[in-house]
Symmetry: C2
Subunit: 338 residues, 2 copies
């Protein structure tokens, strides 16, 4: 392993450790000194021990990021975008995926490793212990995509407004029976989606009974769920589908029922990607604005680090409806009834 220390370099260069440290940190030294130390460092393959440095300076240059799932390309994109922005500030992401770890455990690990900042997507909105421990961290923190006490800085996605506009778009096309499939309505994203969905109906004073909110639990097979829906006595004429798995299931189900898209069934997906945009027909999508999200998170984090500590703020980044080919007016009623 990388064995040589600042002491070794000092001895090799025939100077004191203090001088080596000065060279390392770009402080004032004579050209001769700089040169002597530099050659000694390369000769010894010296790499400064950032642990020791961190102990003295009380800063690790690491930001802990607790993310629901790294394998989700959306979060992958956010990670990349964040990483690039934080790198410019000399910060490195310490990543933990909620797959196989829980929030409190990860938080403890981040605290032990003395991260300088935290970007956290809590896996529970209510666990008082988690909230307490997050407060106890007492450093720059940004809470992502979850409803959380206002004492934290937060970034949220505009699910509610996004779903409202997506739904309104379908209603404007003439759809009346619309189904929203969404996981975990007991968590903030699901609740918000459902709320925006219903708001669109209410705004037009339409019957909320036609607004079909179908909770999609993780265990369920999306294909079967959609099948059941499409084969019910009064099937929906449009579907709003979060995530690739559910969308894929819905497409299979539509095929099984021999329903053409969009003429017999309209579709809106939540979350954009290559697949969705190049599908035939291309899928109309509610897109997460990854770059804006990364910008906002970075902003919120570094403003805390720089001690610009005003009051915590919660910023909502709007989702964007990308119109493509998967929606049209519903089949006319007389076709419907038999």
């Amino acid at each position: 392993m990388s064995r040589s220390t600042i002491k070794d370099v000092a001895r090799e260069a025939g100077v004191s450790v203090g001088s080596v440290s000065r060279v390392l940190n770009g402080l004032a030294v004579s050209p001769r000194m700089r040169h002597a130390v530099d050659t000694a460092m390369t000769r010894l393959d010296y790499e400064p021990n950032s642990l020791a440095r961190s102990m003295r300076t009380n800063s690790t240059g690491a930001v802990g990021y607790f993310v629901p799932d790294v394998a989700n390309p959306l979060y992958g994109a956010i990670i990349n975008a964040l990483d690039q922005r934080l790198k410019a500030r000399g910060l490195m992401l310490l990543l933990a995926s909620a797959r196989g770890r829980n929030g409190r455990e990860v938080l403890a690990e981040f605290r032990r490793r003395r991260v300088d900042g935290l970007i956290f997507t809590p896996d529970s909105e209510t666990d008082p212990e988690l909230i307490r421990e997050l407060k106890a961290f007492n450093g720059p923190t940004v809470i992502q995509t979850v409803e959380f006490p206002d004492s934290f800085y937060g970034v949220r996605i505009g699910y509610r407004a996004g779903l409202r506009s997506a739904t309104d778009y379908l209603l404007g096309l003439g759809h009346r029976r619309i189904a929203l499939l969404t996981p975990l309505t007991e968590l903030w994203p699901g609740r918000e989606r459902a709320a925006g969905f219903r708001e669109a109906f209410e705004a037009r004073q339409l019957d909320l009974n036609d607004a079909l909110v179908c909770p999609q639990d993780l265990g369920l097979d999306p294909e079967l769920e959609v099948l059941r829906l499409l084969q019910s006595p009064q099937p929906p004429t449009a579907l709003i589908l979060p995530g690739t798995r559910i969308l894929a299931g819905a497409l299979r189900a539509a095929r099984t029922c021999k329903l053409a898209i969009p003429s017999q069934l309209s579709l809106i997906s939540i979350g954009d990607n290559d697949w969705v945009s190049s599908h035939d027909p291309a899928i109309t999508t509610l897109r997460w604005p990854v770059e804006t999200l990364a910008d906002t998170i970075t902003e919120l984090l570094v403003s805390q680090m720089d001690g610009v500590r005003n009051q915590p703020v919660q910023i909502t980044v709007p989702a964007e409806l990308v119109l493509r080919e998967s929606c049209t007016s519903p089949p006319s009623p007389h076709q419907d009834s038999h």
Copy 2:
């Protein structure tokens, strides 16, 4: 931030720091001692400083993973799988994505942070400095998916055999003109794919001129490339396509040319996902075995950590051809000629 130290705990509990340390590390202490220390720790919200610990023990419990692109779901899946396995050994992944960072820079950072091990996908196979610095790390190291000096442990994907079997499958179906689109034939994965592709032709003593290797540079628009190919005088009857972007482009191009899949054009994709499997028709795919890959990497890494240092080995994990609906026999020749 988390302020309290082992000293504070010692004072609070009225014992020595050594004793607190012993409790922390589960060494022999009296029940009274354990209890006193435990209550002091919770009262102070104490979280041990792993930096200080690492300095003493010369081990950080961190493994540096340099991955081509976190936003690629394939790597996301590997990250999850690896994380779960390493967690069981008390190790944490320190992740860096090649998007926006280069290998040497990341390696230096990992070395400064004194990672206990390294999983590295070199961004160059030949840079002698990178190789030297990787050697200088001189700790447990696994090189991923790249041809590299045999002095390193390595995991590779069986691209060559995989492509050979995929190609042979198409040849067996009766295809003769087959195009392989692959990025970066100057890098190992691309070279291997091309080699396996050609081997399949050679094994059947077929004309290699019908084996169309089309390098796909990052700048190119896959859709245009495929279009050009399909509109050439002697178009291929089957396509092998790595990655979602290229596959998506090819599907659009096929649609433009009004070629039905698979009856008029057969397709094999490299890399499996929800989209590919639920597409209509479902796409026959060469799949990376994520779990096996993660198992192998973990194995190779921890065997080095445990000092079971035999000779470095390079393990090749076979890719798996998943047969679905996107391939049939090519249109008969007389249909072809006018």
